[in-house]
Amino acid sequence: MVDPEQPEHADTVAIKAVTDAPGDLALYVHWPFCLSKCPYCDFNSHVRDRIDQGRFGAALRRELATEAARLGRRRLTSVFFGGGTPSLMEPSTVGALLDDASRWFDVAGDLEVTLEANPTSIEAGRLADYRAAGVNRVSIGIQSLDETALRTLGRQHSATEAVAALKLARRLFHRVSFDLIYARPRQDLASWRTELRDALALADDHLSLYQLTIEPATQFEVLHRQGKIVLPDEDTAAALYDATEEECARAGLLAYEISNYARPGQESRHNLAYWRYLDYAGIGPGAHGRVTLDGSLRATRRHRAPEPWAERVERDGDGLTSSEPLSPDIRAREALLMGLRLAEGVELARFAARTGRTVAESVDADVLKQCVEAGYAVLTPERLIATREGRLRLDSLLAALVK
């Protein structure tokens, strides 16, 4: 346990490895299909008997071209294929999109290209093809190493498959991450420590460890309401979180974000762009973006349903449903709610340049003072940082702090 009275700085140092500039661009590509819908998942994912790979591949390429024309040439620092289940995409589509991206943008020499993959044997079989297409980092949705838990979570793979897929991925890629879901019903501290230690033994340099959350309009929400799923109470959840951080730190993976752990320098560059509130373009059904156009930061959204999205792209060149300029107030709120998730916190100078508001103008001074006194936040001349204790309570902290 970290002493809450002592503001800690060890895990709040700036991440030095990644130095993306405000003009840089991160690109997100959404593949909206899954083989089945997981009962806890509220992402924009859809199950179809047959997927028209050709049609959706072409639509993604067309929307990328339209977006690139709007954005102009920029330095591209990362591409992330998310979903849905992007490991259901034809590797040739992934390859074509990456080729297109390198045509429209100036590609950084250290471009990070991540693809989310499920560890079923079929998808694992394609990992080599994705590497050949240009993917250099994979994030595998393992979710659990416990067979019973995997069934409860509605996953299509077994723990054995997961381990095999992971081993294969580590042979093929320099950078491999995987996801686990914990704080599951009836999960105790001891069993989670064991599962996590097993996972850390298999892990490379990055892990995403999420506490199970009941999302609205999911099967789990119904079960939760009926009392068939009982989540651990607040104190247990806090203890599980502490244990997670402790085990990861022992293995050299530091909590650089609420649910993300990495060896320093191995943080997800793409996700850092979100949390640092940098420009990112989002294409594909339902994808969101935050992009600077003519000097103003806009929020972009695309049609959520796959087929109507494709129709719009085919007709208009993109599936954009809105592109709104964001006011300084909104930018400040978004930059804080994302930035304070990071152990490095919010950089004051960048924040002001990005949002048009200073941090001091954007937070309640009294609450900030209380937060500092309570050991929830640290304000240095360069940064506002939510400490580990602050990050554990970030939702309440933001509600009180942010103006």
Binding site: Y28, N44, Y210, Q211, L212, T213, E234, D235, A237, A238, Y241, I258, S259, N271, A273, Y274, Y280, G282, G286, A287, H288, G289, R290, A299, R301, I330, R333, E334, L337, M338, R341, D366, Q370, A374, Y376, R391, L392, R393, L394, D395, S396, L397, L398, A399, A400, V402
Partner: protein, 602 residues
């Protein structure tokens, strides 16, 4: 209408405990004498307010004129006075009784006399009423008329050999009641040629007619177009309408001695029409008013605040409208650091308070916070600084400037089956009660206690009900002021005073109460971002302390590029929600917790 000779008039009221059948009997009397056709009879005609129907109590007095052809072949004018049925309205009851010559005492033959009945029957005896005992629900298998008659004789001391046994529900022996009214109750007395003296029994606001005043003529006549004068206030009005209730409103030309009826005179507020006042002729006034007039004085006060600060004006309007109809209720603007803008309101008693609160929420659709009820203390200042009345614990002066404090006492009458007597006496003692009398009637005990009113406004009814499993009945009357060692307990949240939670208690109980309320607040206030210290203090001395630890974890697990818009909107909504929280210094307390804290009355 005025042709009825005075010896053919009978004025009577009905005394009964809740549920013993007063309204049912009244309905039967109206039905049998043909006041309303069966089609016009809605259930329980007299209790016209929804609240009255639901609670089975009468708030406003009402009258009904019945025309009854008796066995002697003569048609009599019977005026039934329906009196308010609760101790909070004791003065109003006394004025209603003063308008009649006799009372029907209705007792449930399966249950016997209750405390509330007693208080009213004593009032009727004080008003020199002839009392006719009526045993109702005689058809029930559990009816024990002989035992109940004996009880009435023992407790009240009236002869029950001629008690009338009826069933208002089935209509059994309603005729017997009507005959007894005619033969056994005295006719009113009065002089038609003397200057006008009419007793103002009650009044209410009608949106079409203005104030409607219920009157009983003692002497003289009351006519349409007459210029009348209210003797206590001196206000002068010209009568627009004179009439009677059958129970429908029927205009008449005039009202004469012994009669009851109503008048209207384009009066805009009932505040001009004091219950118990004497109405006389402006040109030919009576030499002296009828005896017994008293201005109504609130005995219980509390703060009423709108939950939504934007409703303040609406609350002001609504209170104004209620006051149109209820002059006994007082209000004045008040501000609280914790609750914002509201009103300090004074009531005749706890039931009155509840009724007003409920009407505000029901008829005016207002969400309100009520602070804990407080009685009126008399604060005597040092150096002969005189006496001030204290309506709000927050206004209590520094101990240094107080010579002594007096608090109001009540005389409580509690009737309870023997097996619960021990716990009831325990409760009374715990509440600083002093026993004045303890008698037995069969297996029921009647305990008379002097208790500080302060101890009764704090959940006494609820406790009494629970320790007696609902079998105890309770009634009280004000019984003067007495000096007492009283202190104010302040509640502090993170060191800031929460004015609305301050209360006054006897020194001996103060620390314990302080501890209780701190413990309850700890249970009620959910964990928050920061730890919260709750303290109870007497003066500057902290007597109880609780700490609510900070919440241990509250953070969204996943938040990526696609989640920003949603999370930001959620954050904005949360901030909006905070506006509906009450600010306690720097701590925000959800409305629900605050309401519960106030409800629990330590």
């Amino acid at each position: 209408m005025t042709d009825t000779p005075i010896d053919r008039i009978r004025n009577f009221s009905i005394i009964a405990h809740i549920d013993h059948g007063k309204s049912t009997l009244a309905d039967r009397l109206i039905q049998v004498t043909g006041g309303l056709t069966a089609r016009e009879m809605t259930s329980q005609v007299l209790d016209s307010m929804d609240l009255e129907k639901e609670r089975g109590i009468t708030i406003k007095a009402q009258t009904v004129r019945l025309s009854y052809l008796a066995k002697d072949g003569i048609t009599y004018q019977l005026n039934l006075m329906d009196t308010p049925g609760h101790v909070d309205f004791a003065y109003e009851v006394s004025r209603s009784l003063a308008a009649c010559e006799g009372s029907l005492l209705i007792v449930d033959a399966s249950q016997g006399v209750e405390a509330q009945t007693l208080a009213n029957v004593y009032q009727a005896i004080d008003a020199n009423h002839e009392i006719l005992p009526v045993l109702n629900k005689i058809d029930l298998p559990a009816a024990e008329p002989e035992r109940v008659k004996q009880q009435i004789e023992d407790v009240i001391g009236i002869d029950t050999s001629d008690a009338i046994e009826i069933s208002a529900k089935t209509g059994l022996n309603i005729e017997g009641v009507l005959e007894a009214i005619v033969t056994r109750l005295p006719a009113p007395k009065g002089d038609a040629n003397a200057p006008l003296k009419a007793l103002l029994v009650d009044s209410w606001y009608d949106q079409y007619l203005g104030v409607v005043i219920l009157v009983r003529i003692k002497d003289g006549r009351l006519k349409r177009g007459q210029k009348i004068r209210m003797m206590s206030s001196g206000a002068i009005h010209t009568i627009e309408q004179v009439g009677v209730f059958t129970p429908k409103m029927i205009p008449t030309d005039d009202l004469g001695p012994g009669e009851m009826g109503y008048i209207t005179a384009a009066i805009k507020t009932v505040a001009d029409c004091n219950v118990g006042d004497t109405i006389t002729d402006d040109r030919l006034p009576a030499a002296e008013a009828l005896p017994g007039f008293k201005a109504s004085i609130p005995v219980v006060w509390c703060g009423l605040y709108p939950i939504d600060a934007d409703d303040f004006e609406k609350l002001r309007d609504s209170l104004g409208k209620l006051r149109l109809n209820d002059a006994s209720f007082h209000y004045e603007p008040e501000t609280s650091a914790a609750l914002g803008f509201g009103f300090r309101c004074g009531f005749l008693g706890l039931l009155h308070l509840e009724i007003i609160q409920e009407r505000l929420s029901r008829e005016f659709d207002l969400d309100l916070i009520a602070t804990a009820p407080s009685v009126v203390y008399h604060i005597f200042k040092t150096n002969n600084g005189g006496m001030v009345e204290l309506h709000n614990p927050v206004d209590m002066p520094d101990a240094g400037s107080i010579d002594h404090v007096e608090e109001p006492w009540i005389k409580a009458t509690i009737m309870v089956p023997d097996e619960y007597l021990g716990s009831v006496l325990g409760l009374c003692t715990e509440r600083r009660g002093q026993q004045a009398d303890l008698t037995y009637v069969g297996n029921r005990a009647m305990a008379v206690y002097r208790i500080p009113l302060n101890e009764v406004v704090f959940d006494f009814y609820d406790r009494l009900k629970s320790v007696s499993r609902g079998y105890a009945s309770f009634d009280y009357q004000m019984d003067g002021y007495a000096e007492s060692d009283l202190v104010r307990i302040s509640i502090l949240v993170n060191g800031d005073l929460v004015d609305a939670l301050s209360f006054i208690a006897h020194r001996a109980a103060a620390e314990n109460r302080g501890r209780q309320i701190c413990a309850r607040l700890k249970d009620l206030i959910p964990k928050q971002l920061f730890k919260i210290a709750i303290q109870a203090a007497i003066g500057s001395r902290v007597v109880a302390r609780e700490t609510i630890s900070a919440m241990s974890k509250d953070v969204t697990a996943k938040c990526y590029g696609g989640d920003i818009s949603r999370k930001r909107k959620l954050l904005e909504k949360q901030k909006e929600g905070k506006k509906r929280m009450r600010q306690f210094g720097k701590v925000e307390i959800p409305q629900s917790a605050f309401l519960a804290a106030l409800k629990m009355d330590a």
